[in-house]
Point group: C2
Chain length 219, copies 2
DNA sequence: ATGCCCCTTGTACGTCGTACAGTTGTCGGA
DNA sequence: TCCGACAACTGTACGACGTACAAGGGGCAT
């Protein structure tokens, strides 16, 4: 993996960290591992990033700025809101291991502020007060991240486990449940284990969020 | 902190870990720290738990089983659903640092299965197919956990930072924003920094979720 | 060639989870 | 009264982690 022909770059490190996180999870993203991956000493990282948190912030910022916001059209607010939220999930979905890093950077990264600005504007247009706008907007951002985060079987933002093994254990456990005691869980068991990652799941719950915003508009 | 008069117990350890997490965050919950807190050698923990993950699972299970489900009344499904979701948030809210641990244990812990069963049953009653029931139910559980997790300024499930310092930095950053470029963000800035932890926030977004479910019922 | 500055290396420390083996306290049957 | 057996705990050690600190090299303008 040593590619020590050129100098190291912030962006190169971030890129490397992203593919690493996608392939092996966030817990594989280690200063030492990143250094080794680039044929370099661990301490070399610290020239490009103050500390590991700064590196993770870099990852988050990179992910946030990959959101392709639709042009600020003139359609009804709920349609526009849905488009923006969808653009957000679409960008984050390919990197579920990193989803948890995003939240704390949304109001810091430029792209995140742009995103927040658009969402808050639409909520204002929908008739929410400034305070409710903040509350709903915050929750929407959190929900989208949740939506895009990893499979519940592996657990979002909980790393350090063998995903396959956990998934198998969960399946085995669900199969031992008494259908008399948990009829609905047993009936939904295959879907519960499977539903994440399906386009259906995202579309349906994006609708849920937008319809929810519409539903609480007057109150 | 050494209270070595009685033998150690799984429950005692879990209890200790919970107060520790509430006071100093999940990153303070360490095998060594827990041992020291109980006046015992680190390795003593491994008699009661196979490894640290088992300990965290114990924490999650304890938290899940603290949910006080309302009696299965006979009101309309959406009212009952809201009551259940509210009971969930109420139980988890006091322990935001642990919220992230819950998800992967919901379909394993008995109390979690009970919770899932009730939610899925109500969704079935609302007219969802088995598959959509699973999708919506999964998302609802995730959202409630998200809702109950820590302040976005400190970042849910992201530990290892000084919360106060981060909050101050965020506030400072928001105050430097150009109101021309981000009018809505600037207008909502105080609320954005503050809204979490307010009862208002939880009530409003619980409504959002329930109304959302109602909104997507027929489709 | 020389000096400077950007980038990298080398070494070391403290913390973490935990494998492995040994030690104690307690208690029921002889 | 003794005695093993088993439950609960101790002691030591290892490898991985983040990172402080100081020293080194290598390309560029002079």
């Amino acid at each position: 993996m040593a590619k020590r022909n050129v100098r190291l770059t912030r962006d190169a490190i971030v890129e490397c960290a992203m593919t690493l996180a996608d392939a092996e999870g966030l817990e594989a993203v280690t200063i030492r591992r990143l250094a080794q991956e680039n044929g370099v000493t661990p301490m070399a990282m610290y020239w490009h990033f103050n500390d590991k948190d700064a590196l993770l912030d870099g990852l988050a910022d990179h992910l946030i700025s990959s959101v392709k916001l639709p042009a600020p059209g003139s359609g009804p607010w709920d349609v526009q809101l849905r488009e923006i939220l969808e653009a957000f999930v679409v960008a984050v979905r390919p990197h579920p291991a990193l989803a948890g890093l995003i939240l704390r950077r949304i109001l810091i990264a430029d792209a995140g502020l742009e995103l927040a600005e658009r969402v808050l504007a639409l909520l204002g247009e929908a008739g929410f007060t400034a305070e409710k706008t903040a509350e709903v907007g915050t929750f929407l951002m959190c929900s989208i991240i949740t939506l895009a985060a990893a499979d519940p079987a592996t657990g979002p933002h909980v790393e350090g486990r063998d995903a396959d093994e956990l998934h198998r254990r969960k399946r085995a456990h669900l199969e031992t449940l008494s259908p008399a005691r948990y009829p609905n869980v047993v009936a939904a068991a295959p879907a519960l284990l499977n539903c994440r990652g399906q386009d259906d799941y995202f579309a349906l719950n994006l609708d849920l969020l937008v319809q929810g915003v519409r539903g609480i508009r007057r109150s």
